[in-house]
Amino acid sequence: MKLEGAKRWLIAGIALAVLVSLFSAQFNRYYLGIAIDCGISIILAVSLNLINGHTGQFSLGHAGFMAVGGYSAAKLTLVCSPMVPDSLKPLLFLAALVLGGCMAAVIGLGVGIPSLRLKGDYLAIVTLGFGEIIRVVVQNMESVGAASGLKGIPKYTTLGWTFALAAITIYVVAALVNSTYGRGFIAVNDDEVAASSMGINPVRYKVTAFVIGAFFAGVAGGLYAHHKQFLSPTGFDFLKSIDIVVMVILGGMGRTVGVIIAAIILTLLPEVLRQFADYRMIIYSLLIIGLMMARPQGLFTFGQKKKGAAAI
């Protein structure tokens, strides 16, 4: 596929998302909400896939970055929305999302530079600790509602915003990885020592992956905040990070399509299982255990990874 093809896909994705969004008034509100949840999960899982899947760094801090982005974005709209005329509200929302992403990216940089010298389990523990620090800090910040949560966030998130941003996330990760530059991420994953002696700076690649991943987690947090209209620190505990990691593992590390499907399935599953009430989380857990035992390499690893050509 030609390279313009990649961009064409991106534009088509965004256009479709916006188009479908125009009819969202006709959708059942419950289903609409779940669809937006799915879109946010896709952004989270695909961005984490760049860190955990492609670059092979086990990060458990994604919920932390999401929290940073969510709170930053929500705070901005809460402060500014009374001053901004309705016609400029979408611009305000965009600014809030970008702010959320940038805040998360900056913190990602701060966490990444020292901690990415660690490998595997050690990195996992550091990022886990980071996520908890964020949660505890938020819990004690009166300006963002502390433990009782941040209420009254305007509802700006729509289907169009969510899926347009999901399309951008997928594009960015896929376009990066499927280039000569991006082969470095996978090279670092495969063999750091060899990568280093081939002129690839492993630390730089790892930090880059971490920062880009954190940015999109922050954006997802912003979407989440303006979707649920309420943020509470407990929503960003390490279980949330684990949920995202499960999506990546279940979809197949480094397999973008698989990860997208897994993100959708794992978001829908708890809803589908709602009828089993109390047994819901038990069934959910058992399903994941079963799936992992049956397909340890990931559920959706059909086809080979992209070869040769620099197309998406």
Binding site: I186, I200, A309
Partner: protein, 261 residues
Amino acid sequence: MSKPLLTLDKATIQFGGLTAVGDFSLHVHPNELVGLIGPNGAGKTTAFNLITGVYQPTAGAIHFSERHILGLKPHDLTKLGIARTFQNIRLFGSLTVFDNVRAATQLHRLHGIRSALWRGIGFHHAEKEVETQVLELLDIFDLAKMRDEEAKSLPYGDQRRLEIVRALATKPKLLLLDEPAAGMNPTEKEELMKLIQFIKDKFKIAIMLVEHDMKVVMGICEKIAVLEYGKKIAEGTPDEIQKNPKVIAAYLGTEEDDDDA
């Protein structure tokens, strides 16, 4: 003779109380083929790791292209023109043959993140250029037909060759080969000797190799340095080395035994 490309000046590295390599001095000239031999544990690979920046010497100096290279990281040294292969093959297993070599071209790439995301015309040209270069290299080494195979699924000999190709893709001035003949049968060793000679002539680069197989080393190297217990005990042409009593003592006078090894 021309100015040396690589100069080791009393390079020393100590791990705790153990001197793995001590006062090791050596010159490697452009387009020279130098062998580094010695009994097991003599510090040959450690010497390689010093040159490639994996370890930093605790004393002494190393110059490359008349530049002091202490403190530089392996990836910086690769940019200066030092490439290497590994004793135990270290390919990027999950990448294809093509992508293994492609990943190694990225230090000379003409584009970065922004270009990869924007995907303008410049990006196309750069990627096309990279593809041509990689295919050309693969072609020379007869690996082009396997371009889409996963590197880890390749036969052993091909993996060794691919590792050399990958190193060459960084456009080195000095290529370090760490036991390239390890695990090869006599026919493969013959081919390897031709291959190394061919690389030297074709790419006009200096090659330094660590090797246990005396036939290979004596057959192709112009100069040989012998290490024992981290010290250089001899340096000279293959003929001189074969007659050197110290070397014979170190190896218990057994050129034949090493052939079997």
